[in-house]
Subunit: 129 residues, 2 copies
């Protein structure tokens, strides 16, 4: 059993502060051996960010804040608010736009190692051990 | 891309109301093909419940409420509050005690089918397709 307190990860290599403006705290990574990775992402108000996880499936639960998710493959827009989950089950190209500060709980499969970078497409590269 | 609104799952077969007192909304199950399942569990104030996921790893993030997690293998107790994650990476036998209503975001690997029952040990059985 592991107990992980978000505040204890601030300023460690488990907290990634993106030049793009979002912050990602990685509670559980591939090295934790859970079969998935588990993160909290914070989007500040006004941030719009393009993503495309070509190599992963991701599910995201919003528990705070409000924004819009754009499916760049279809042009559809969806309101995201507390209680909403979105699942990127087709490696969908997407843009998240935060109206207010958003707090998002994210699971990835396969699990993220923590050493991926967003490439030019906004995707996480796959990292081999 | 799937957009799932928690309130839309109330009263459907994706909401399980346990005789034990907890409620589990299953946003994503094995059939969703994400590689993990993704749930929200609500514990009412005062509920104590024994669990033992012999066949799964589970990670849990608390975003509301307060309680105590007991590791029944070691006797250790941990305060659970907003911002805390616990990871059952050793199939740990555990008891969750809610002081106030707790809202928990849960990921399971392998993914839960939704047809598992808690057996006499508090474990989810493995269900084959």
């Amino acid at each position: 059993m592991k107990i992980i307190r978000t505040e204890d990860l601030r300023g460690t290599d488990r907290e990634v502060v993106s030049p793009g403006g979002w912050t990602s705290v990685r509670w559980l990574l591939k090295s934790d051996g859970m079969g998935f990775s588990f993160h909290e992402t914070t989007f500040p108000p006004g941030l719009e960010f393009d993503m495309w996880y070509k190599n992963h499936f991701e599910a995201v639960f919003c528990y705070k804040g409000e924004g819009t998710l754009v499916n760049r493959d279809t042009g559809e827009e969806h309101k995201i608010e507390p209680g909403t989950v979105y699942a990127l089950d087709k490696h969908d190209r997407h843009t998240l736009k935060a109206k207010t500060e958003m707090k998002l709980v994210c699971s990835f499969w396969p699990p993220v190692t923590g050493r991926e970078m967003h490439d030019e497409d906004g995707a996480y590269t796959l990292v081999e051990d």
